[in-house]
């Protein structure tokens, strides 16, 4: 150990590894991961959330899973619960859609209305 900066570098890198164990106060992303979700491709969707959040150094958002949300035909689905407890349900997700949701909804606070369940259902 030659300097404080060196310690700081190790610290920053290591913090990424254990951030998961800290209390989170930000939004929650809940991905539907029942059989229906997994079959429809929920795993890449969840990985996309994780990667995108890491790329942007967002560490107060929890990504977690849940079982079947009941609308299996619209899987892969994910809910974003904001800090006020308001829920946004996104449906028919892909990795590309996830990247946009992270950028617009999680970072800038503007939900991507066209991907939400209400919009999707009325269009199709």
């Amino acid at each position: 150990m030659k300097s404080l900066a060196e310690l700081e570098a190790i610290r920053n890198k290591a913090q990424e590894q254990i951030n998961l164990r800290k209390n989170k106060d930000g939004m929650r992303v809940v991905v539907g991961m029942a059989t229906c979700g997994i079959a429809a491709g929920a795993r890449p969707v969840m990985n996309a959330f994780m990667e995108e959040l890491k790329k942007r150094n967002i560490d107060n958002v929890v990504v977690t899973m849940t079982g079947c949300m009941g609308v299996c035909r619209l899987e892969p689905m994910a809910e974003i619960i904001d800090t006020n407890g308001k829920r946004f349900t996104y449906v028919k997700l892909t990795s590309e859609k996830v990247r946009r949701i992270v950028a617009e909804h999680i970072v800038n606070g503007k939900p991507v209305i066209e991907y939400t369940i209400g919009q999707f259902e009325s269009k199709n």
Binding site: K2, R11, L20, V30, V63
Partner: protein, 598 residues
């Protein structure tokens, strides 16, 4: 870098290891592989969560969900339900939590709510075998700050201002100890850590070493800088194999990163650390005996002065602190002495870790601010006495301490109030006793321990404690006289005044404090030849109540030596000469017709 979406924390402390957590880890690995989750879920072996009663403990993040008493058979369900489908396995949560799904996390458990974790902040959070995780939790930043920004005198000043007192038992102000050692003249100085935790029922130090070994290592390097030493020794019991292994790993990793060794942080400061294993003699927890043992000699104390600060290890100035004392140091440096002093009472600052044991629901490790009352610890955190029985007393400070009776349950826990009560903070063992505990028997238990562990160097301890034990045996056999009680008291006071080291000087404490608060029990043994709690076998009698006996014969069938006889429609009888006082008959009697001591 690989991103894991979930971390499974499995307790690897001694408590949970004993209840089978190693097998859990293997099973988790197997099940994760089966479900192709090994790249998504990370298994982390942590130190003690403190909730040993409900072990083995498994905590899953990001939910922070705490599963208790997990068995191998449960793992498949946890993996398939929680990790694959995101459904929490409610039946494995702590009972009260099962209905409230929103409060599954570790913070929601009463056991943790009243605690204030400073020393244990990393225990159960990080992997103690991974230095990076310690660094992520601000590890070694205090050392960096001290070496690059502060003069040794400033470090000592901060410790003095924090009001930290020794956590090993004596409660001597830590800052002063550092100052004395810093001022002492000598070409070579040493920093030592007392990890020879020996009190029956105490396991705080072990859990700190197992859960956060780097905190102690960092603090010792800081102490080295403050007093002008470049060599440290940790004296740890060989009976703590997990602690020893993790310390070795931790020292190795710190050396590899250059956090121990030469020219740390490029400041020219060198510090090296070695382990010394103790063979488990209680007396080696006494500071002069500990240092004699490190020197490779037979562990025996020597008179003080000279104090270790001036002539310690190999006659050189030596700083010796306890594990928990050291574990506070990095936090004090990082957060400031005012932060530390803001917790606790006027003369006892900060927090204290206690090992809760005995007749209590939540056996385990708790860290509380100084000044918390015994009632809060026993009822709110400890969950009260099992079986709805009455709280009688708590033994604090092990064989050197004393008991605090039920009427003092609202006493705030700090150094001075406990000393006033005739107990002591000690290292932090808290053994809870209920109505079925005989206080004379407890005093005898601790005295037996000190008689066994006396090193034999000085006569008051070697001969005096032995004589005290003989008197106690006489009393519990129902052969004691009032004169014996007087003799016991005189002997106790003489040993206290004349023994060479702390072990001998404090050995009579359990007897003195039980005599102070429970003299009536001693008198009952002597005058009435009965043991009110029914523990002392030779004077306890089991009697069948003639009116209540229904002559069912269950007692006679269950008596292991067949000393109960009787016939139908007539009350059964116990042959008192043959009875071994095992209590089986009383337990088995469906009509509660058998009594003790009537």
């Amino acid at each position: 870098m690989q991103i894991f979406r979930s971390h499974v924390l499995i307790c690897g402390g001694t408590g949970c290891t004993a209840s089978g957590s190693t097998v859990l880890t293997e099973e988790f690995e197997k099940q994760l592989k089966k479900n192709n989750l090994e790249n998504e879920v990370k298994i982390v072996k942590t130190g003690c969560f403190g909730f040993c009663e409900k072990g083995p403990i498994v905590v899953i993040y990001p939910e922070g969900c705490m599963y208790t008493m997990v068995k191998v058979e449960d793992i498949r369900e946890i993996v398939e339900e929680h990790l694959v489908k995101g459904r929490i396995v409610k039946r494995l949560l702590i009972e009260a939590r099962q209905e409230e799904e929103s409060r599954v996390s570790i913070e929601g458990v009463e056991f943790f709510q009243k605690q204030h974790r400073v020393v244990l902040k990393n225990c159960g959070v990080i992997n103690p075998e991974e230095i990076n995780e310690y660094i992520a939790c601000d590890g070694y930043r205090a050392l960096g700050k001290v070496l690059t920004e502060m003069k040794p005198g400033e470090v000592i000043d901060i410790i003095k201002r924090s009001g930290l007192r020794g956590r090993g038992g004596g409660g001597f102000p830590t800052g002063l100890k550092w100052e004395f050692t810093a001022r002492a003249q000598g070409d070579q100085k040493y920093v030592c850590c007392n990890a020879d935790e020996g009190d029956p029922g105490a396991f705080m130090d072990r859990s700190i070493l197992e859960g956060d070994p780097h905190a102690v290592i960092e603090a010792m390097a800081i102490a080295g800088y403050a007093i002008g030493s470049n060599q440290g020794y940790i004296y740890v019991r060989a009976e703590y194999p997990i602690a020893v292994r993790r310390l070795n790993i931790a020292i190795g990793q710190a050396k590899e990163l250059g956090l121990l060794g030469k020219n740390i942080f490029g400041t020219g400061f060198d510090f090296d650390l070695e382990l010394r294993l103790g063979a488990g003699a209680f007396v080696c927890g006494e500071e002069t005996a500990l240092m004699t043992s490190i020197e490779g000699k037979r562990g025996e104390p020597r008179p003080r002065p000279p104090f270790p600060a001036n002539q310690g290890l190999w006659q050189k100035p030596t700083l010796l602190n306890n594990v928990e004392t050291y574990a506070n140091i990095p936090q004090i440096i990082l957060n400031g002495p005012e932060w530390f002093a803001s917790v606790g009472t006027e003369r006892s600052k900060g927090t204290k870790v206690f090992a809760l044991g005995g007749k209590i629901n939540n056996t385990g490790l708790v860290e509380i601010p100084m000044g918390t009352t015994l009632r809060e610890v026993i009822y709110d955190i400890g969950g009260g006495i099992p079986g709805g029985k009455n709280f009688k007393a708590v033994q604090m400070g092990g064989p050197s301490g004393g008991c605090v009776p039920a009427e003092c349950i609202d006493t705030p826990i700090d150094y001075d109030s406990l000393t006033q009560l005739g107990a002591m903070m000690g290292s932090g063992g808290m053994i809870v006793m209920d109505q079925d505990t005989c206080m004379v028997d407890i005093a005898k238990f601790f005295l037996e321990f000190t008689v066994d562990e006396s090193c034999g160097k000085c006569p008051p301890c070697r001969i005096g404690t032995k004589r005290m034990l003989e008197i106690l045996n006489k009393i519990t056999d129902g052969k004691g006289t009032l004169e014996d009680i007087e003799k016991l008291e005189v002997l106790a006071k003489n040993i206290k005044a004349s023994a060479l080291c702390g072990l001998g000087q404090t050995a009579p404490n359990p007897v003195l404090s039980t005599l102070r608060y429970f003299k009536d029990e001693y008198l009952a043994h002597v005058n009435d030849k009965t043991c009110p709690a029914g523990v002392c076998k030779s004077i306890t009698r089991y009697v069948i109540h003639e009116d209540a006996c229904k002559s069912c014969g269950i007692c006679a069938r269950n008596c292991p030596i067949g000393c109960i006889t009787g016939e139908k429609k007539k009350p059964y009888k116990i042959d008192q000469d043959k009875c071994i006082k095992c209590g089986t008959c009383m337990e088995k009697c469906p009509f509660k017709a058998i009594y003790k001591n009537v």
